[in-house]
Amino acid sequence: MRVSTTHDPRPTTDGLKSVGLTPAEYDEIVVRLGRVPNPLELQLFGVMWSEHCGYKHSRLTLAMLPMDGPRLVEGPGENAGVVDIGGGWAVAFKMESHNHPSAVDPYNGAATGVGGIIRDVLSMGARPIALLDSLRFGPLDEPGPRAQAAGVVGGIAGYGNCIGVPTVGGELFSDPAYRGNPLVNVACLGLVRRDGIARSRAAGAGNSVIYAGARTGRDGIGGAAFASEELDDRSRREDRSAVQLGDPFAGKLLIEATLEALATGHVVAIQDMGAAGLTCATSEMAARGGVGMAIDLDEVPLRETSMRPDEILRSESQERMLLVVRRGFEHAVMAIFHRWGLQGRVIGAIIDVPELRIGWRGNTVAAIPPYALAEAPAYRPAASEPVGLLERWALDEAALPDMDGHQALLRLLASPDVASKRAVYQQYDHSVQVRTVLPPGAADAAVLRVLEAPPKGIALAVDGNGRYAALDPYRGARLAVAEAAAGLACVGAVPLGLTDCLNFGNPEDPEVFWTFRQAVSGIADACRALRIPVVGGNVSFYNESPDGPIPPTPVVAMVGLLDDVARTRTPAFEAARSTIVLLGRADGRLAGGLFLTELHGLTRGRPDDVDFGPHSRLLAVTREAVANGWLASAHDCADGGIAVTLAECAIAGGVGADITLPDSGPVDAALFGEAPSRIVVSLADEHLPALRDLAAAAGVPLHVLGRTGGDRLRITLSGRRVVDAPITELAQAHDALTKVFA
């Protein structure tokens, strides 16, 4: 053992806490090392065993997720999941959170979130071709959340636009519960040749370890640990090096240089340096490959002089990659990075001994078996059903005062959850790369053409309903998966796989952990029912502020495939008069819905569960109808119920409709009640018989609701006109976010 170990007495509990470890974890480290760690080693364990890197509290629960499927090429375990799309091509995708950094510095936090997820996808050898952002803020009529939202959107735009990856979709919700702790989840999808997929498993003793990209500075030291703590006022105010700064220009160069380097065939393994920087990349790559790695810190390109070993190892400077390159080809690979104006330097080699050996100024300063760092201990935290949950399920609908349908519709359309997100996505370049067939705002899912394998298309949808998940995390998670799948069906896509971002409070709080476990099992069951794999994802715990934990917020991003991208549909009603049809259940329920929250200030009731048998059949019928070219429009019925859905179709097409709703229950529930498994389509009369036959054969209920035409939305229920509004008025209400982001 050449590492100098001061045989200090065991560190105090407080001392351990300051590096993020517990006494029991310290004992485990001693067992794994067969000796006492030195202070530097202890710090490395501290970052690698943080919640953010080590998934200590979530790993055993995540094992519930189905991670296999016929098209799956790479599942969780690599930097991003990869799914085959045929024609010799595959897509890599992943979603990640940047909640804490965005709370402290909205612009830079969100910008580096984009940079980080891009490099996960790039690590698979894939060219990033799309971004999605899922955002949660406090009330947007308050200056604080509003400024946060402006900063976050600006940051996503600032990074994504510069690197030339279109942001093609996303979500934005507003709720007082996110006031102290906004959520910023970003998903990225990349395209890679089936035979060009890169991996992170280091191999081949004697091969070189190459550092590529930007220099290392003191940015974001302790970022991983930071993401594993609760936010308090101090962390907001204090000047922390935990904040990372991105340079999208370097990010763009890194994409081009990395893809060029991978194309040489000399790269054995590659990974980005993200959370926990060099420590994470070296230990994970070595552990995955079952080899050792010797790194010389003196070779690491630094931005600042006199950085200490622990700073170099833990720095979270952005725009950096680590490559293992076949011996003898180092110069060919480095020359590519140099040509793009980036650093490219041999900093070490693969060794036979399964050891991560860190040298600095001629000494070995750390020597740790890679697995010992990379595989953090896993815990099974206590879980208990939140007190008062059953009580919140109680809802006396009859006691609610009646609302004027027209006014209620306008208010729902203007609520941030439903309102047009144009004010956001017009700040994002969504048409670069000439692939975007259905841009943000156009449909329930974004659609991109696959230029490399025409006429295929890729569809992307991201969903997560905090209201539902707060009331019932299991059902809420299933509803999110169901909604994403419905969105894909409406544009004609078959789901291929899913990635998730699980945003929760402190997992050591049994009530929080219970909601987490419920949500994971909800996603797991839903994906099994839909027969799609979860290819990867991200857990963000400790989303708490002085006001308490955020509501459980599982967000899912689903990727789908179209055989022919030209055969896709949007919600927009067409000018030619056509028949409007509701496929699926006729009844909606107010429980847990937007109507209750927005108009009665109540987040109550138990949302309906999804029955995946009928749901899958509904999606299959919708897909087939789209693929056959029968439909003029298709739109998933979600927040705000059928009235909002119809209004959205009318606004999108600039065409009105005359609707008679099937008689069922009270007016409010009929108009604004929500339920899964409902899709509104419109079609020319000539195709109606075929759709009827298809639906009947699949056992999918079909109700003719009315016809398109005119410039007003008219809804009749039980012989009474309950909504009669000009499209222009609806559109104006729907545009409410424009002034928020002006």
């Binding site: 600006g154 735009a157 636009n161 510069c162 690197i163 030339g164 340079d247 999208p248 220009f249 763009k252 160069l253 793009w340 104006g341 996505y425 017009q426 700040q427 994002y428 370049d429 969504h430 048409s431 670069v432 790369q433 000439v434 975007t436 067939v437 053409r449 230029l451 991208v565 030209a566 982001f741 002006a742």
Partner: protein, 239 residues
């Protein structure tokens, strides 16, 4: 026909231009690297959009110092067809190949959306196949597209027929509401005095295939192909 697409560090529409010119219009396309002072004998130079050098300092300012710009300048002086799209337009301004300067959008935000623009001049290779008054629809995607020049300079440009495109509404009317960035006199594109160098903010390469919603962008490239062919045959005729 051989097109050269210049690649600066930070260009991000280079591949899109290459796709449209090569795969859609079936022309020869070569990449021109910023560090080499040559245009490689091409018939037309395209400066694509993006964020060359991160748009640090001012959009296009640092890219304008690249060696390839000297070659582009020479090519332009000899009458060659040059088009700068979005960031390419900003670079041409900073390099002094086109008059004026670019300010931040008056809305102070990036804007990505479809716009309409009216053809004001058919003197350029890229508008030679169009009619004055024709309305084209294509996307913009920029944060600094607010064209500026002092009033006397604008007057002189109008006089000389250097205003090539103006933002307009669907009916072709130039109105303040149709101007997405505050550009002086609703200017979306201009040329140099000779007319052979064009700069515009909207992205014709993103509007060159029906599946993307518009094919109007193609008209610009097709015009250039016709113009270059015409120029060639006239050279041959003189010989």
């Amino acid at each position: 026909m051989r097109f050269g697409v210049v690649i600066f560090p930070g260009s991000n529409c280079d591949r899109d231009c290459i796709h449209v010119l090569g795969s859609v219009l079936r022309q020869d396309v070569v990449e021109l690297w910023h560090g080499k002072a040559t245009v490689d004998g091409v018939d037309c130079v395209v400066l694509p959009g993006g964020f060359a050098y991160g748009d640090y300092l001012r959009a296009g300012a640092i890219a304008a110092t690249a060696p390839v710009i000297n070659a582009v300048r020479e090519f332009a002086t000899s009458g060659g067809a040059v088009i700068g799209i979005c960031n390419g337009f900003q670079i041409l301004l900073e390099a002094g190949l086109l008059p004026g300067a670019m300010l931040r959008n008056d809305v102070l935000q990036f804007r990505c959306r479809d716009v309409r623009m009216r053809v004001e001049s058919t003197r350029t290779p890229f508008t030679s196949g169009l009619r004055v008054g024709q309305v084209l629809r294509m996307p913009i995607a920029h944060g600094e597209g607010n064209f500026y020049a002092p009033a006397p300079m604008l007057d002189a440009m109008e006089q000389a027929g250097q205003i090539v495109f103006r933002y307009c509404d669907a009916a072709g009317a130039v109105a303040a509401e149709a101007n997405p960035n505050g550009a002086a006199r609703s200017i979306a594109g201009i040329s140099n005095q000779q007319g052979n160098v064009l700069g515009l903010m909207p992205h014709p390469e993103r509007a060159s295939e029906a599946i993307l919603g518009s094919t109007h962008g193609r008209l610009l490239f097709q015009s250039a192909i016709g113009w270059i062919e015409g120029r060639r045959s006239s050279v041959v005729a003189v010989r």
